[in-house]
Point group: D2
Chain length 392, copies 4
């Protein structure tokens, strides 16, 4: 007998839960891609995407996953031989480097490990030493999905400004856009990438590169850029097909339209507050449990993301807990990713289309699982989480 | 700001949560209704419905809701002037009476109120006094959706048998089939009614009357029966359209096929165990909370249904809690129904497509709501529920 | 090899093609049935249904198919022993009689066979002879789905009025509402029945009884009526559940809402003109083919429905043609129904969500099939049909 | 009044009609992307894609549209400074060139215009002159969507073989795979690209590069390749995410699985025969109409594709006819693309999920439209098309 056979809940850190309205919007016949409804719909999507990224600048849409967006962002501003400084925390910053290398870009990693956020002071040291301004860009990850760590992007802008260093600031917001507060223009970020399948609540397959005029000025001389990744023809194009360098991602666009309507109907500030509160509820439970047991959130409190939480249990307990939750209780947790050993970890996604019922249900299931597996834990976790939701 | 904007959870006692597989099966073009796939599919649906009701006898499918099924069941066995004895608990037994009266059937109510189950001894007294066997049928409700009370149907059969009283035993299993263990043949029930939208996980609009040969013998002389409600042409018909006395409920049939597959794939015993365990988890929380606060489950422990729980909070706290849960946390609870005042009560459906995540999430939300509304409650409710799930 | 493997086209006379928008509206989670969106939506559905029936009077919605609606209409106005006169053409008028008989209603059939419409003069003769006004109602079928014959309903009202006969006029518009022009109030029809699955483009399972105050006055004394069929509580009810005498047909209501929006967005007059033109296109082809071959439309031109066409081919050619069209070309035609032998006939539904592409495609396929099966036919059929569409 | 308001038919040459089964398969919750059903499903998709391309070699799946696939194919085998010879017919061969140029590849166009297929003899001349084998690849388009021309790919292989020229043969089969017979291995094609939204009946957003060992050998030294386009990690990867260089296109994969099942259930040979017959039916009508009017298929008979037909009407009659068909009859035709003036042309897609009903309906609508617009046409077109279908 299993208690899993109801509506399954996917609590991995992306793809996230797709709202019924988005699924319904995507269940439709193919539209014409030359004239009509679809072609008229896309400019509004671009506008509404920029509202989510808090930018008045440019947005290019790509049929691609997040890896392709790294390539798009780098190739539009760099040329072979250019150098970038990548302050890394967790795993995904290394993705920036992996994509940069085949483009002929020199990468300098500044690795802060898997438990600490980027230290702006150390970044400042490296940049200060770069008196010749060989470093052309600073690609960072705002929220690292593997570790649940959130980096202070505005602080990096201040470092650049204080040093008068011209390197562009690039932020990967794939795991965080629409979840953790982010201000592209106010924080002085030059290039931002995001994708459909996390806070934007749409299946994977479409991504976005937001860029400002400083970044576009570097596009002039960038020699890495290919036809497909070129952001210019995709921005305010004369022909519809140029938005996507070819055939439009028809069904994703309908889904995205529905998802953006949901975000702006709720209000982006409300969306972000909801994520913040639900994250605090989850931390309250985890911290209480951890007070008398092996469970520990990977990131210290002030660097935790509101979108994803990575936790350590030890041994292979991460895997055992995941297995129990999925097959006994209907909750699929995320695997430990990029951790050693990964089986000691698990992750919870709490991004996008997520409410108190979903998060409190996950916590109830996790406690059930720990109990069933004889994993000790401190008392009061579920009460603490409910208390946070009550105060919202 | 609200914490409700994720996947909404409908925790009312029917219609219940429709599985994605059922929704998907119903999203389709109209089929031919004269030959082909649909016509070949229905005999297997009848067979699989009978497996859920645990009967080897007959099943008629109706395009109707539950009220129509009451009329169908009564009219196939009775004639104007016939008398029925209705032992009532809660509200829905009065539905039997409401439908009987316009048919010219005399009804004698034996009302056990809203907190007690049917007392077989008192039923025995009335039947014993009916020495002329004027009482032709004993229509009862197995699980009353308004009170959450489960009646002992097998005990009523024993009463009839011991008295040698020939009245038919009719059971309304609308709220309970596929949730609370039920044995039509083993318990000696002559007529059973059930509907699509609760344990059978399909939208409302289709219902079922199961009947045995004793009941069918009474059909011979029944004069209440109309063409539409006649169960005979609907049972093993020569022409397909007679299954439904006309046009088939095409899309419901596809949904039902998917739902029955889910039930039998999991195994009916496992389905029932899942419901039993989740009900115990919910009771554990409610009972703990009630130990130091106003919350009280309406039904005593040994008469509680595994499908629905009605609870009392007092004042208008039932309505206030429902409102908080829906608009702040994404959970829609059921209203107090047939209670005085209804605003003092609320109900939770835990029937059909329901798992540990869903139930534990509801409990977390209810505790949050009580906290937000300053409703006192005893400690340990959430832990107790998780403990039950852990032990499953 | 087959040419059938594309989007299959169901050209049977009901259930008709369900628009994508309707299917999409029905693909959703269960709603609350006590408060909220669904409960607020239903009054507007009733209003919009009445606009389609062209009546300012009353509408009761039933969870039922068409057979149940016959029972509903009869039982609300009649008592056992009452007499009705049923002028019949084709098969479905006999349905009125089949449902009336178990209610204890005396039925007098006036059968015009399968090729002729009702002759008002002969109806007048019978009514004139009924000087005692024993005949309480005149149940007729506006469009008979088996024969494709459309009767002149307004002429029957004139007969009644001229004779001063008080019998109610009942019209079965199941196959025709939203397809063939119909004016309940202007034509003086007292009771009209219709269902979801034809011109209303929604799956089978929900039906409607429209009635005026004269009919409702007869409800006062009608003794056939049961609780489920009683139209009064369903009309402008105080509690939402009384609209449906119990649980609402949740998903059908969402589908119906979408379908009614489509009808009124296009404009009912435009919908009817579309049906009229497409019917003329189909007749143009059939009549041209029939000029030099066995194909013959069953009904003479001035009594043809705009919703369904029945045609004769002879032998078992109806079945052979249906088989070829379905398995070789992707078109499912309707069987010959109520004809002798049925295999000599076939029917085409051209009701509801139907456009020039669908009808011209059916005609192309039928000609292909006749050619493949060596059925002779006159020239110019396809051109004639295209000509009609060109002139629209 | 319009005759358009039924099921709309999109007859553009891609995206094509998406089968209900594919839409239904894509309407689902997000799956886990680390373990479970989705991860187990992908190897079989790769296998079944290769069956459609008739190759025993390799297949890489990309989240991308067709333009990206051009870039993928070129970049995996070439380095800056390499030279390619592009024999062009119609528009899309220029797409190969557009993508090649930013990669630093020298392109030599051999343009055969918009009405003629590639002439292998002239290709042979150029290759013969390339005694130094500077030409590394011959990228061609099998079926050009703009002109409806099908090129003889096997003939180009023979040219290369006869000359002993080592250039790779690259075929763009985006518009044709699963429609026009194609034999990657038997015809000696080294690299083939295809996408989801035409013969594979799935929404745009996913594409495929098939390549053999000769092509992979050139990958060794190719310096154009980036991380995202690299086909090697995507082929038989050790980790699931490498299939897609990151997050999987979850919903497209479910759709693709359903589409491939449909193709292989019907049998690829039957699929191709169906396309061939339906194309012949369409040509029969067009050629008959053209015998006495301005309508003319762009391509000569022996170079016509079975997937798409481009036709000339003159003036702005192409646009006028498209407009009439869409708004009066429910058929959306494809625009003239890459032609001068484009308004004189229109195109019909007859690819993928297409049957006799759909094609014959399109033809009926086109004839209606020509009649309504007073465009003269020769007689017998519709009969000729039906005749072809009858003989299938």
């Amino acid at each position: 007998m299993s208690l899993a056979n109801g509506h399954p809940y996917l609590a991995i850190p992306g793809p996230s839960v797709i709202p019924d309205a988005v699924q319904r919007a995507m269940h439709r016949a193919s539209p014409n891609i030359y004239t009509g409804e679809l072609t008229e719909m896309v400019p509004g999507i671009v506008t509404d995407l920029k509202r989510v990224a808090r930018t008045a600048h440019h947005c290019a849409i790509y049929i691609s996953n997040g890896h392709g967006l790294w390539e798009a962002a780098l190739s539009n501003i760099l040329s072979p031989g250019d150098r970038v400084l990548i302050p890394a925390t967790g795993r995904f910053a290394h993705g920036w480097a992996d994509m940069a290398q085949p483009l002929g870009i020199e990468t300098e990693m500044l690795d802060f490990g898997k438990r600490d956020a980027i230290d702006p002071a150390r970044v400042a040291e490296v940049l200060a030493a770069d008196t010749g301004h060989r470093i052309k860009a600073l690609p960072v990850v705002y929220v690292d999905t593997s570790t649940g760590i959130r980096n202070d992007i505005a602080a990096l802008r201040r470092v650049l400004d204080e040093l008068g260093h011209p390197a562009l600031l690039l932020a990967d917001c794939i795991a965080s856009l629409g979840c953790d507060a982010f201000e592209m223009d106010a924080w002085g970020v030059d290039v931002v990438i995001a994708a459909s399948q996390k806070g934007l609540m749409t299946p994977p397959g479409v991504g976005f590169v937001f860029y400002n005029d400083r970044a576009d000025a570097m596009r002039e001389t960038a020699r890495c850029v290919t036809h497909y990744w070129d952001w210019r023809p995709r921005t305010d194009p004369d022909y519809f097909y140029r938005y996507f360098d070819g055939t439009a991602p028809t069904h994703h666009l309908y889904g995205l339209r529905a998802a953006l309507d949901m975000i702006h109907d709720e209000g982006l500030d409300n969306v972000l507050s909801r994520h913040a509160t639900l994250a605090r509820a989850l931390w309250a439970a985890f911290d209480a449990w951890g007070a008398d047991g092996p469970l520990a959130i990977n990131a210290a409190r002030d660097i935790r993301s509101h979108a994803v939480t990575a936790a350590h249990l030890g041994g292979s307990l991460g895997d055992e807990l995941r297995h129990w939750c999925e097959f006994k209780a209907g909750v699929t947790l995320g695997i430990g990713l990029g951790m050693e050993p990964s089986s000691a970890y698990f992750r919870v996604g709490h991004m996008g289309h997520v409410n108190a019922h979903m998060v409190l249900g996950v916590l109830g299931v996790i406690q059930s699982g720990m109990r069933a597996l004889d994993i000790p834990f401190g008392p009061g976790g579920l009460d603490a989480a409910a208390e946070v939701c009550a105060g919202a």
